[in-house]
């Protein structure tokens, strides 16, 4: 086994080395975009020259993201426990959960800077980045417990709470750790985004902002790679902890009885309707409460009613609606295209990872860099290579969307049971045929889950491209509104983009439920 693993790893290392060498040569010869892609050696030299700058910025970023990570996770785990104990509360909070999951960070960052002061926007954005991941991991972990252990507790007279404390929470530890692992890089990225926009002196985002004006790609790459490193390390820390912890919490034998389903499908219609309405209304109540509690004046901080007033009732509402409508017309078609492109790219990669595992493993570090590299640092490179039209928008959208979808799809393809795979093999089917006839159809639930992940992010990707490169649509309207001091529009764009993302999510969910029910498959959470 050890021997085989070494064999499988060496081509990965080799491919990675080739990749790095190609990068170096391309950079040295200024092959990419007239030298806008710096060679690795330049990045390293620049990093060494800047080494005195980094500690302060890294410390600030790590501090804000750690605080956000802690706060976000405490809330997430607390919420997860609450949701599992009281499924009705989960129903009620569904709107909030989906909204937190779908909200485009660049639309929220200006709102946070407007309403909060000091470090708070950074911490909140970091916390928002971790909440959903950890919360859903907690819920999944707590729901899938070993019923045999729970029966033991019950037999000795323990109640729900005892079961929760002694069985379910313990059993959920691996899942929660898995969630924390994914959440940690999110916290770092959230903090950096808020630093970039929000004033203050320290933090990698601030450093990036000051460095942009130098026209020195080596510095920008250095900052980006540092962000990647911090995000990667935070991931590694939790990967290590979960590897340590995992061994002791897995049951030795397999339990074949599924835990009881918490869903209350048989609840009276009235209750279900009121829960659904409550779920839709709750995000707006929280928004309203947030503004009341921060005490920011109505002029700059709009309540939900303030946005309605701005869009439909105020004197200038016709102008505002026209602006918003024009922006949406520009943004929505490209978003649809971007969803398809992002998902298609993820799908191709997932298939490639099956057919050419060596290539994909070498590609993974590059993929990780695209996930943590602040796109603003890459803007010149991107516009020089791709122009400022459709292709730059699509590539930015792909880079923002493909990764989570890819990870899910690979999982889906890997989870196809061996016995099912044996059948085509026994008949001598080629790898392609096996993939086409067995693996891909079997991974359909994962494809849907991946679509649900991709779709809200596509809007984020398009808005980023509009903000950085094309100067059109919602992304641009958001930024321009700051220059016009049009607070109503800032809040409108932020809330409309969140609502759209949520709507996309639900649209996919509806199609997914229908299709999978017809095929007799289960929805992947």
């Amino acid at each position: 086994m050890a021997n085989r693993r070494r064999f499988r790893h060496s081509p990965v290392l080799r491919n990675l080395l080739i990749l790095l060498m190609v990068w170096e040569v391309a950079g040295q010869l200024k092959l990419v975009a007239g030298g806008a892609l710096p060679p690795l050696s330049d990045i390293a030299i620049r990093f060494w020259q800047d080494r005195a700058d980094y500690p302060g910025h890294v410390a600030a970023t790590v501090w804000s993201s750690t605080l956000g990570f802690l706060i976000g996770n405490v809330l997430a785990i607390g919420a997860g426990v609450l949701f599992v104990l009281f499924p009705k509360v989960q129903r009620l909070a569904r709107g909030v959960n989906i909204a937190v999951f779908a909200l485009p960070a660049i639309a929220i960052a200006p709102i946070l800077v407007l309403t909060l002061e000091g470090n708070a926007p950074r911490i909140v954005l970091a916390a928002l980045g971790v909440y959903f991941v950890t919360m859903s991991a907690t819920v999944v972990g707590l729901s899938q417990y070993d019923t045999r252990a729970a029966d033991v507790i019950r037999a000795y007279g323990g109640g729900n709470w005892k079961v929760m404390r002694l069985v379910r929470l313990r059993g959920a530890v691996p899942d929660i750790l898995g969630g924390l692992r994914i959440a940690a890089p999110n916290a770092v990225l959230g903090a950096i985004l808020a630093e970039f926009g929000g004033g203050g002196r320290w933090g990698l985002g601030t450093y990036l902002l000051g460095s942009l004006g130098r026209g020195e790609p080596a510095r920008l790459w250095g900052i980006g790679l540092m962000a990647t490193l911090i995000a990667g390390l935070s991931y590694a820390v939790f990967a290590l902890i979960s590897a340590r912890v995992l061994g002791s919490t897995r049951s030795v034998t397999l339990n074949t009885a599924l835990p009881p389903d918490g869903a209350d499908a048989d609840a009276p219609l009235g209750l279900r309707v009121s829960l659904a309405v409550g779920a839709a209304v709750l995000p707006f109540v929280l928004w309203w409460a947030f503004i009341r509690l921060t005490g920011v004046p109505e002029m700059i901080a709009r309540t939900p009613w303030g946005v309605v007033d701005y869009l439909f009732l105020a004197d200038s509402s016709a102008v505002a609606r026209a602006k918003l409508g024009a922006a949406l017309l520009e943004t929505l078609p490209i978003t649809a295209l971007g969803m398809v492109a992002g998902l298609g790219f993820a799908f191709l990669l997932a298939i490639a990872s099956r057919m050419m595992p060596g290539f994909i493993r070498a590609f993974m570090p590059v993929a990780l860099v695209t996930q943590t590299m602040p796109l603003v640092a890459l803007t010149p490179l991107l516009v020089l290579m791709l122009g400022r039209g459709l292709s730059v928008t699509l590539w930015i959208t792909i880079s923002v969307t493909f990764f989570p979808a890819f990870v899910l799809l690979v999982q889906g393809i890997q989870r196809v049971p061996q016995s099912v795979l044996d059948l085509p093999r026994a008949y001598g089917a080629s790898a392609w045929k096996e993939l086409r006839m067995v693996s891909v159809p079997a991974a359909l639930p994962y494809l849907f889950a991946a679509t649900r992940l991709t779709v809200p992010r596509a809007l984020l990707g398009v808005m980023i491209a509009e903000w950085l490169a094309t100067g059109t649509g919602l992304g641009n309207l958001l930024n321009q509104s700051r220059g016009y001091l049009d607070y109503g529009m800032i809040w409108t764009v932020a809330s409309v983009s969140v609502c759209l993302s949520v709507a996309f999510y639900y649209a996919v969910l509806a199609v997914e439920r229908r299709t999978l029910t017809r095929l007799g498959m289960q929805v992947v959470e």
Partner: protein, 323 residues
Amino acid sequence: MPLTIGRRGFLQGTAMAGTALALPYAAWAATPFTMQAAWINDAEFAGYFLGMDKGYYAEEGLDLTYLPGGPDVIPESTLIAGRADLALTTPDTTIRAITEQGAKFKIIGAQYQKNPIGVVSLKKNPINAPADLVGKTIAVPPVNIVTIEALLALNGIDKAQVQIVPYAYDPTPLVKGEIDASLDFTTNVPFTISQLGEEAHSFLLYDHGVTLYNDTVVVTEETLASKRKELLAWLRASRRGWIEALADPALYPPQWETTWFAGTGRSIENEVYFNTAQKPLIEAPGGIFSMTEEDIEKNIQALAAVGITGTREMFDTTLLSEI
């Protein structure tokens, strides 16, 4: 809301009572005062850094807190939210806030008599005047769209004839020829362009009809009424700081390498260039921050070109006449 105000008021009240009991003279001597700057720490704010370092604000009885800005920071918002007493703003946004949002602001001074924002191009592909922009691509920070619209309107150019793309503060696309010009501080970006091996060419919007101030000193009407003494103190100390910072523009930036400019990612040579280039735009016959009747009128006229209605009442020159 009443709850929040009540709590804040209570906290402030207790804090003040506490300090008053403990240190009656010191508390009286240094009044807390917060200013919101318009951007991250660079030479644009040299005068204030010097004033803080040399204790000019303290001498005037101010305990100054300095808040740096950033792309998402709208200085006017900080004033409205009550997080700063005074902010440095762009006059077009401020006046728009007064007319369209009903914000109660007064402009009490102007750091830049002439706005340093200009059209920056390369010498080998120069844009000499607004008319040259026709058929060209110019990168403009999204927040400055109003400014470029003013330039085009005042020079009779149809907006549709110029391609405007977002500017992300990185001069690389300009140097590589992907865009023909950018809208940026002429006091700053030409230096970077020279570092990148090209020669920059620029003109000020001010010289082509957009006769605006920049970094206008803005306060709320309430602050103007209740903190007049502090505002006078701030103006005096800041003017003193600026006079000294500009006397030899190359003297102070190197001294701030490890303090104000630490970790900004910008180079000290860049700050020296910046400070030198901004000197003629800041200095005024009537003293730094001054606003002459003639210049105020010019600002109002330039804004009228883009449909922003400024009035003389939005400017308050009484403080300037007292310092």
